[in-house]
Symmetry: C2
Subunit: 241 residues, 2 copies
């Protein structure tokens, strides 16, 4: 399982993903689920992945191949697409094709080789945008009403986001909300696990502003997780009934 | 959809269910999902239901029929079963048979006519017990390590239970935790909705101690829901990052 969340604020984008991958409960490994394609100042694209590792790895590899190919153009390379909508379309096409091919090769049913992705970014002169690309290749976009998107095990971590995140939320608070959302998810689903990848893309920077890997024993994250548990218990005790 | 939760504390049982039933998004109705079979002082059995309404209603009706039948004995009537384990077994048998029959009649696949139940109660001289009965008729039981059971849309409301509920939790705090768990669920899933049914069975009372229907405009519940949102936002703002 996986949990990835991305928030689109007025000040920028916040991306967070876990790294746990499992094929059954006894085959657990760590794989990065956050990828960047970047030409600093011109464009930055962040991709978060959930689902079958063979589908997501092949999709990312094909996207990279198209970027590196001298024959690519704005319809095949996400670094040449004229808009972020075009970027999401290319990723949707490659994802959907890869998924169908792998399912066909491996005689799996469609549902067994599936994956979805969050695509976030900005190109110079364009708006910052945030998409969720479905396994079928179609996509939805975050709006001011719902300024975040989630993939994977999304339910445990949703209430905190609904309560505190708006487009006006600061980048610092948004990172805090994303980490607390992840903390609730990891507490309830063992197949979502550390280390975490956290990144911030500031508005109009067109580059990854900060990127941080949070390891299992990270004192700052442990302290936050502990403080949140305490705060919730305190609030609970003080609640009227 | 449905959300039902039951907590087994040292001091007693707390049961909470919503009442929203839907066949598609445009066919929404209110149905009770909490049922009691009671002979005060001798035994009390609470049943919470989730899943296909035709399966749960028929199951409850058949359980009632067996209770009313002069020919019933400890293997067919939940009011005559010698232990709560026997009660859970009878309910499992009736549920599983009803589910299979309805699926066969209506040419549905097994998964489409499904239901699960929470069974809670005590008989004089026995322990207070809490079971989750699966559609197949088998069951699991709440323990001191995990003193609560949920059916239906369980994920949104789980984190708060995990953080605050232990067997030592008072009945008052347990009601608060159950209601906050329901509040988080209703905020995220529209197909879980008011009114709510809340009941308490005190240890060794062998009767329903309190029963309360919480309507949509209940001022106490609204205040609690609002206060919890405020408390969470306050705690969030004060959190270190």
């Amino acid at each position: 399982m996986t949990y990835c969340v991305a928030l689109k604020l007025n000040d920028g984008l916040v991306l967070l993903s876990d790294t746990r991958t499992n094929a059954g409960l006894d085959n657990i490994a760590t794989y990065r689920k956050m990828f960047f394609f970047e030409e600093p100042g011109e464009r930055v694209i962040g991709i978060l992945t959930a689902g079958s590792l063979s589908v997501t790895q092949t999709t990312i590899a094909r996207l990279q191949e198209a970027v590196d190919s001298p024959d690519s153009d704005g319809t095949t390379s996400i670094m040449k697409a004229e808009t972020m909508l075009g970027v999401a379309d290319i990723i949707g096409d490659v994802l959907s094709r890869t998924r169908r091919e792998i399912a066909a090769h491996s005689e799996l049913q469609q549902g067994q080789a599936t994956a979805s992705m969050i695509v976030a970014g900005q190109r110079a002169g364009g708006d910052m945008r945030l998409f969720l690309v479905y396994p079928e290749g179609n996509h939805i976009e975050a709006t001011d009403d719902t300024p975040y998107l989630q993939i994977g095990e999304h339910k445990y971590g949703k209430p905190i986001l609904d309560r505190v995140v708006t487009p006006e939320t600061s980048l610092e608070d948004a990172q805090k909300a994303a980490l607390l959302s992840m903390d609730s998810t990891m507490k309830s689903n063992l197949s979502v696990g550390m280390p975490l990848d956290l990144a911030v893309i500031e508005t109009d920077a067109c580059r990854v502003s900060t990127k941080r890997r949070i390891m299992k024993d990270d004192p700052q994250f442990s302290e936050m997780s502990h403080a949140w548990s305490e705060a919730l218990r305190d609030a609970f005790v003080k609640m009227p009934i």
